[in-house]
């Protein structure tokens, strides 16, 4: 699980061009779309959907499901684990 979270952070930093961030800067429970957290925006949300399919083979088609899944790194990792099991 921990390596999944590390991988997720690396992919997010790379795919979303967050060049000012390191993996260690993103807490597992930091809110991804909050200015007090990682500060992602609506375009980043679309990139996360692409990222989920590209790296984990998961299609996020239900907006409500995506909203829950993309809250934090923890919720993203849980979502991936759940979809893969």
């Amino acid at each position: 699980m921990d390596s999944l979270k590390e991988d997720l952070k690396k992919h997010i930093i790379e795919e979303l061009n967050l060049e000012d961030l390191q993996v260690s800067d993103i807490d597992d429970d930091a809110l991804l779309f909050s200015a007090d957290g990682v500060g992602l925006d609506s375009i980043d949300a679309l990139e996360l959907i692409v990222l989920m399919e590209k790296f984990y083979g998961i299609q996020v088609t239900n907006p409500d499901e995506g909203k829950e899944a993309f809250l934090t790194i923890n919720t993203m990792a849980d979502y991936i684990e759940k979809k893969k099991s």
């Binding site: 979303l16 061009n17 967050l18 060049e19 000012d20 500060g39 375009i43 980043d44 679309l46 990139e47 692409v50 399919e53 590209k54």
Partner: protein, 207 residues
């Protein structure tokens, strides 16, 4: 009387402000040329990394002018600064990368897609600086000083107090960028005429 009070030119390996070199490309740096310039500015604006090269070009030119002339933001109300930009490549540099993202890499990139219009740079400048005046981005066959003179005049006559203008030539490694500030009733600067627009903005007349 209207004057060009500051100008910034960026080529493929150097950056000039008011004709003086302020930065030169370090070929040994792992950073891209525009990222080197961003670091030289010593500002914190993480959105810079998400911008395409066209928006980065406008951003860098305007930021170097602001560093030279810190009063730019505070001197005018939000709707008094107009934006007047042009090039002859539109957003082709990003259009090509977007096409590659879905043709070669399998998935269209949303973050590239949002930059597949040339006037997005105007939005970036407006957001960064709260420049909510008139704005125009023209795609022209070639650099045309008369466009800046005539359209700039219209902007002043319809209420703008200053015009941030520029030519942003970005395409597949080519960098021909000029950004210049036109103001009214300023004792310093170059008279806003054809000769000086060519001097400040023409990609063929880098400092």
């Amino acid at each position: 009387m209207r004057s060009i009070t500051a100008y910034c030119q960026i080529s493929e390996d150097a950056c000039y402000v008011n004709g003086d070199v302020v930065a030169q490309k370090n070929e040994e740096s792992p950073d891209s040329w525009f990222k080197q310039l961003y670091k030289d500015l010593a500002i914190e604006y993480p959105k810079f990394y998400k911008m395409d090269m066209l928006s980065q070009a406008g951003f860098l030119g305007s930021e170097f002018i602001k560093q030279t002339y810190p009063g730019l933001i505070s001197s005018y109300a939000e709707d008094e600064v107009a934006l007047l930009f042009a090039n002859s490549e539109s957003s082709a540099d990003t259009d090509i990368r977007f096409k590659e993202s879905y043709q070669d890499k399998g998935s269209p990139s949303p973050s590239l897609f949002v930059y597949t219009l040339p006037n997005i740079v105007l939005g970036e400048l407006a957001i960064r600086n709260k420049f909510y005046g008139e704005n125009m981005f023209a795609v022209l066959p070639k650099f045309a000083p008369d466009f800046f003179l005539q359209y700039g005049q219209i902007m002043f006559e319809t209420g703008s107090k200053a015009v941030l203008a520029g030519w942003l030539g970005i395409l597949e490694g080519k960098v021909e960028v000029s950004v210049f500030l036109i103001e009214q009733n300023k004792p310093d600067g170059l008279q806003f005429n054809k000769q000086n627009v060519i001097k400040c903005a023409s990609p063929d007349d880098q400092a």
